[in-house]
Symmetry: C2
Amino acid sequence: MNRENLFVKIVLNAWELNIKRASSTIEGFTDDDLFTEISPGKNRVVYLLGHLTAVHDNMQPLLGIGERMYPQLDEIFVSNPDKKIKTLPPVKDLRANWTNLNEVLASKFHKMPVEEWFQKHSSISEEDFAKEPHRNKLSIVITRTNHLSYHWGQIMLAKK
Amino acid sequence: MNRENLFVKIVLNAWELNIKRASSTIEGFTDDDLFTEISPGKNRVVYLLGHLTAVHDNMQPLLGIGERMYPQLDEIFVSNPDKKIKTLPPVKDLRANWTNLNEVLASKFHKMPVEEWFQKHSSISEEDFAKEPHRNKLSIVITRTNHLSYHWGQIMLAKK
C-alpha cells in the first residue's frame, strides 16, 4: 500500500470508527431519551443529533462530492441554539437522516480517488491553498471527526 | 512539501489546535471550578485534567519518544473512576503537569523524523503491523486527538 492510500485509510478509519460509536449510542436512546439535556440547561441530545447531521451533510459541497441532502436542518440545528426553534422535525426523520447520510458519505468517501483527497476543499481560495497545502479535503474529515468526538462525549453523558 | 511531510503537518496541527483550545478552557477555570461535575453525578473537571495528562503521557512509551513523566497519575485518573481515590494531587501540580507535558510532547513531536511517524507503535507486533500498516505512530496521535476532543466537549459544559 502506498503512502497516499495509507493516509486516506487512517483518516477514514478514524471517521468510521467514531460514526459507528456515536450511532450505537444514539440507537441506544429511546425517542424520549433524545430530549434529555446533556447537562442541566445545556443542549438536548436531539439537538446534537440534528447538529451533527447538518455539519456532516455540509461536507458534501465542501469536498465537492454532492449537494446538501438536508439543508433545512441548518436553521434549526446550526444557525440557532437549542430550544430557540420550538418545532423540530419528527425524531423518526432525524434518525433516518443521520443513518442515510452516514451511508451516503461512507460510499462517496470510498469512491473518491486517493489523489482527490489532497486537493483543496471548496472554502479555500487557490491562492491560499498554494501557501497552505495542508488545508486539503482530507483535513476536513480530520476536523469533522474531532468535532464529532467533541459532541459524542457530551451525548454519552445522557446515557442512563 | 512532499506528501509525508504534509500529512504529518495535518495531524500535528489538529493535535496542537485541540491542545490549545482545551488548555485555554482549563486555564479559564479557577481551582474551585475544577471540582465542578461536567453533569450531575459525572466526572469532575479535575479528574478529566488528570486523565488526559496520564493518557497523553503514555504516548511517550507508545511512540518510543521517552519514559512516562507522571506514571503516578494512572492509579487515580485511569485505573479508577472519579471520586474513588479520595486524595488527589494538588491542583497546582496537576496544572503544571499538563502544561509541562504539552510542551515536552510538542517539542518531541516536531523533532521526530517524518519517516518515523510511519513506523509501528510499541503496542502492536511486527506481524500485525505487516498486515495493518495503518496502525503506525501517526495513527496514535489521531486517536488521541479524538479522545481529547471527546473530553474537551465535556469539560466545556462546566464553563459558567
